[in-house]
Structures are given as C-alpha cells and as structure tokens.
Subunit: 142 residues, 2 copies
DNA sequence: CATATGTCGATGCATTGGCATCTATATATG
DNA sequence: CATATATAGATGCCAATGCATCGACATATG
C-alpha cells in the first residue's frame, strides 16, 4: 500500500498549515512583547520540570526535539542571557549539567501569559474541550 | 476568558510535536533521495496548478505561506536551478510572472512518490480515512 | 593494560532566514 | 498635471541552521 487517500492528504495539509500559522502567531506575540522565541520557553520549562539537578544537554535535546548542535547553540545563548547555568558534570568528564536560573524561572513565568493568551484565542475559543481532546487523541496516534 | 483547559494544551502540544516530526520525516526522505526541500515542492505545485500563465510572486507567497523576502529568495534559487522561468510582467512594470518549466514539472513529479510514501506510512497507516477526515475537520476549525 | 569503538558536546563553513530598507512603478488626491 | 501614498520585489546586514567533523572522555574487547 502506498497511494494515499484524500482524507490523509487533507489531514496532512491542514496539519502543516495550521501548525505553521499558530506557531507564527505565538512567536509574533512573544517577540512583540520583548520575549525570546518559543524554543527558549520549551527549554526553560523542561529544565524547570527537571528540578535543581537540571539536565544534561543530550537529555534536553530529546525533550525539545532539537538537533545536538542546535541544542548546544541554544544553550550558549541562554547561558549568555543568564537564564540557565552551566556547570561541569562530575560523573562524566565529557558532559555538563544545565540548570535553570532564578532569572530563567522568572522569564518563563512572564512568557506564559502571552503564550497562553494565543492558545486560548486560537484553540480554546475555537474548540470545545471535548473536541480539543479528540484532536489531541487523533494526533497522538501519528 | 484566558485560562486554557487541559485539552487545549494537549492539542497544542501534540500539534507542535507531530507536525515537526512528520515534517522532518518528509524533509529527510526528500533530501536523502537527492531532491530539494518541501517548500520547493509546494511552490512547484502551486505554479503547476496555476497553469501556463504562472503566478506573480505576491500571489505565490500567499499560497505557500512564505514571507515576501523568503519567496523572493526561493524563486531566485528555483530560477537558478532551472525549475521555474521568470519573465517581466507586461501589465505591471514592477512585477514579474513566474511559471514552472518542463524540468520543474518533472522534478515535482519525481518528488511526489517519495513524499507520498512518507505520508502513507506516517498518516495513512495510522489513521483510517474516517479518522483522518475527522482530524482534518478539527484542524480546519482552528 | 592497550587499543578500538562509542558518546558528549563544540565548531568551521556554507546556506538559509528575519528585519529593515531601498528602488521602481502604480494609483490616488488635490 | 503634480505630488503623495501605496504596492511589487530585491537586498545588505546580521542571526540562526544544517552538515560534517573534531577533541575529549568513556566503555568495550582482546
């Protein structure tokens, strides 16, 4: 089997279109409020969830779906911006531990209302919770 | 209203994750088969659908969801690769007409089986047509 | 222990993308 | 018609990304 049916194509097209439009809406809102891109939020959130021990870069990259070099550079920028702390890893001489700083926490907290507002307007207002849940379920099967 | 419910958040997360993973799968397949990125396919398809008169760049940009400067540069590369032809626009001295070349048509045709295979494996095999249609419908409401 | 192989993270190089701005032409307005 | 404003498309500058590869350390294998 290889030919795709019309519904598959429609789902793909809608998936690409809407994800791009929504992502751009989020990015635009964050930027115009003076905040960093969404990728920074994702990284900050994962680091905050990981607790005070933080994460190794290779662990983080799997959670934020960024390539190894992309994660390396993102962390550089975030260190420079003072949002995360980098320290040498004791158990593994090659590695390092990344943890969120207080400033990082506060930036993440400040970004959330902006982010949430877009999601609320663009998704919450358009789909009842049941439909949103159904959407999530269908997507999770991909 | 501004607080988002759990289902909205789950839908958003799944939307971001799956769209990125699927897109990357498509891009990887195309690249490893020696073809250009998906954006080129999209542009070629729109130009082919537009017929022999082709499209003005500003028309194309709306259909492929690219910023003006992105479209300008994409077209540069595609002209250089010989996939599209650019000619001055008669009705508007500022503008130009872009049309797909024979080579462009054949490249698009050759890309499709690669593209389709990924969609088939990643979507068609996972969702019955009815579910895919349901997914498309839910997404279309966003 | 010595060597081969694997994993972690960084980086040089080239390509792509974002932003602001420019030129040229078109259209509107007095 | 003269001037102001708007639109089409290109581009300089800088930042971000992709790719390949590197150096450092870790682990497996003889």
């Amino acid at each position: 089997m290889n030919e795709i049916d019309h519904a598959t194509e429609a789902a793909w097209t809608a998936l690409m279109t809407k994800s791009r439009v929504l992502l751009e809406a989020v990015e635009t809102s964050l930027k115009s409020a003076g905040y960093p891109p969404l990728a920074w939020y994702d990284a900050l959130l994962e680091l905050e969830k990981a607790g005070p021990d933080g994460l190794r870069p290779f662990e983080l990259k799997d959670r934020i779906l960024l390539p190894q070099y992309g994660t390396s550079r993102l962390l550089n920028r975030m260190v420079k911006a003072g949002l995360v702390d980098r320290q040498d890893c004791l158990e593994d001489g090659r590695g390092q531990n990344i943890s969120i700083s207080e400033k990082g926490k506060s930036v993440r907290r400040a970004m959330w209302p902006i982010y949430e507002r877009v999601l609320s307007e663009r998704i919450g207002a358009k789909l009842k919770p049941k439909d949103a849940a159904q959407l999530a379920t269908l997507l999770s099967r991909l």
